[in-house]
């Protein structure tokens, strides 16, 4: 699928909303083909960071470079065109559409059929549709949703809906995948299954992954490196083991008194 994903470099990224500084000069680097976790207490700026990376929010200053491209200032769909896909913390799947059609939306950037071709049912549009539905079925099988393709996404259990959203992001054939709390609200079994899928994405597809997650078990198991944010500031950056024992991190999570 994607060989040699580019490096993602975040430098001095600052985001302010009317006086509130959500991100204050943070920076980190995601090496190709690794899982990089961004963690921190609630309100630390993790979701803001994702929204800047995917073009939903504008950065006040700083830079985000992906390969040779500067992402800050690009609209969301241009960032998607560069091979950056994301999932949402709260589901963004239309409940009425079938899983297959939801995943087909992920193929949007890879397909060309316009209004006229689709309206007239031109042969190339029909062929393109069939070819990409084939690929969608493969990706659904990769995450274990091949039997749910014909069901409306809204009728799936919560865990499978999150998996469907992950599959939809994979359908974009991304080079960089941003996962916003992929296992939140899942049962223990679903968590294990999803973590296995995420590890599989990195290992067999070579996609770089940025992961925002509260579940420390999943973070420690999956992440190759970890960035810790607190109140919009970067307080630690390193391997899972070094970050876990960092006093600043322990303070941020457990409070001042708990350092003893």
């Amino acid at each position: 699928m994607s060989t040699g994903a580019p490096t993602l470099e975040v430098r001095d990224l600052t985001v302010r909303f009317a006086g509130l500084t959500a991100l204050d000069g943070i920076g980190f680097t995601v090496r190709p083909g690794t899982v990089h976790a961004v963690i921190g207490p609630n309100g630390a700026g993790k979701s803001t960071c994702f929204n800047v990376l995917s073009g939903v929010y504008r950065a006040t200053s700083g830079s985000v470079r992906f390969g040779g491209e500067e992402l800050t200032g690009l609209p969301a769909h241009r960032i998607a065109d560069l091979g950056v896909a994301r999932t949402f913390q709260n589901l963004a799947l239309p409940p009425g559409a079938t899983v297959e059609d939801s995943l087909m939306l992920g193929r949007h950037r890879l397909t060309r059929t316009g209004f006229v071709a689709a309206g007239l049912g031109l042969p190339y549009a029909v062929r393109e549709e069939a070819r990409h539905r084939e690929r969608v079925r493969e990706i659904a099988a990769f995450v274990g949703l091949e039997d749910q393709l014909a069901r409306p996404a809204g009728t799936l259990p919560y865990g499978q809906q999150k998996l469907a959203e992950l599959a939809r992001a994979l359908c974009m054939e991304p080079k960089l995948l941003l996962l916003d709390e992929p296992v939140a609200g899942m049962t223990a079994g679903e968590r294990r299954a999803t973590a296995a899928v995420v590890a599989g994405v990195r290992d067999s597809l070579g996609i770089s992954i940025v992961l925002v997650e509260h579940d420390m078990g999943v973070v420690m198991r999956l992440a190759d490196s970890v960035t810790v944010l607190d109140f919009g500031r970067l307080i630690a950056d390193g391997t899972p083991a070094s970050v876990q024992s960092d006093p600043a991190v322990v303070r941020a999570y457990l409070g001042e008194e708990a350092t003893s």
């Binding site: 939903v56 769909h77 559409a97 087909m104 950037r109 316009g114 309206g119």
Partner: protein, 352 residues
């Protein structure tokens, strides 16, 4: 029921429906043909509005404006030049095509705004189109004929002129309504199939994504503003074609007709029929446009409805109350519109 019979049932129903629609001009009188033509033209306009409002979530109050562009555009392009009216005297089929294109161009001129505004805000912006449009219609006398409107030149296609000159088909005299019936039927079928293709294909998925979750649509690679603008143009062209057909059916266009009420009627059609689907638009259009005709025809037999001008509730008024009530009832009890309960039953049976 056995599997093969079930599979044959759908095409069989479609064929039966098509044969029925094709045979109607041989049996119906002029009144019902006019009503049917009116419904078919409205259905085309409603499909266009449903692409924009139902499928993409962009409210438009300006649909009447684009209907007017189509109707008057056809009159100006196909009409004769007289002392008081401008007309380009083009072949009428070409004028019809160009009128639809003209509606598309008008939509295109507005599309920078349509691309940037979301949902209800677009609705407010498009209100301006109605007011500007009606002002022009009332005052650009040499193009529109002013308050009294202008006559609509009859369509002629392949040597057949769709006017009152009677053509005997299987011993049935075909006037303009009978002949136009087939043109309208063909146009509606084409428009419905085109819209269905759009909705089921890549553009439809992008449109629904914009409606359901605009931010996610952008993140999935859908250029949101460009799609909104594109759908706006497409929807304008549907309205333009509906306008041309309405003009041909009425044989005269008057500015009074293309007001806010008309835009509201089209919104009522798609809400009653079902938002976001072709079938919903057609069912809603038939309901909303046939209701006043039915009430007019049977006003003496219905309680509380009296002939126009006799003091009681006039049929037009009564029908407005009725579909006002229908909109409320549909929103409360059938959020998917008239076509959706049938769909839901169909999709759940195989699973159970």
């Amino acid at each position: 029921m056995s599997e093969p019979i079930k599979r044959l049932r759908r095409p069989a129903l479609w064929t039966a429906g098509a044969v029925l629609l094709l045979a109607l001009p041989f049996y119906l009188d002029r009144f019902w043909l006019q009503a049917g033509l009116f419904a078919m033209a409205a259905a085309i306009g409603a499909i266009g509005l449903n692409l924009l409002t139902g499928a993409t979530g962009q409210l438009s109050m300006g649909h009447a404006f684009f209907l007017a562009v189509g109707a008057y555009g056809y009159c100006v392009l196909a009409g004769d030049s007289t002392a008081t009216l401008t007309g380009l005297n083009l072949p009428s089929w070409l004028a019809a095509v160009l009128a639809v294109a003209l509606a598309g161009v008008a939509g295109g001129l507005f599309s920078p705004i349509a691309g940037r505004l979301q949902g209800a805000y677009l609705g407010i912006a498009t209100l301006a189109l109605i007011f500007i449009g009606q002002h022009v219609l009332f005052n650009a006398h040499d193009l529109t004929g002013g308050f009294n409107g202008r006559d609509v030149p009859p369509l002629s296609l392949f040597g057949v002129t769709f006017d009152e000159s009677e053509l005997l088909v299987a011993a049935v005299p075909f006037g303009s309504a009978e002949k136009l019936w087939y043109v309208a039927l063909l146009a509606l079928a084409g428009c419905a199939l085109f819209a269905r293709g759009v909705l089921r294909g890549r553009p439809g998925r992008a449109m629904n994504a914009i409606r359901d979750h605009r931010i996610a649509a952008g993140v999935m690679g859908v250029p949101v503003a460009r799609y909104r603008a594109g759908v706006f143009v497409l929807s304008s062209m549907y309205a333009g074609l509906a306008g041309v057909l309405l003009a041909l059916v009425f044989q005269r266009t008057v500015p009074e007709y293309f007001g806010m009420i008309l835009s509201l009627e089209y919104l009522a059609m798609i809400v009653i029929g079902g938002l976001g689907s072709v079938a919903g638009a057609v069912v809603g259009a038939v309901f909303v446009s046939l209701l006043p005709q039915l009430l007019t025809r049977y006003s003496d037999a219905l309680p509380l409805v009296s002939a126009p001008g006799t003091g009681g509730v006039a049929p037009g008024e009564a029908s407005r109350y009725l579909y006002g009530a229908a909109v409320v009832a549909v929103v409360l009890f059938l959020p998917g519109g008239l076509v959706r309960p049938a769909l839901r039953r169909k999709t759940t049976t195989p699973g159970e």
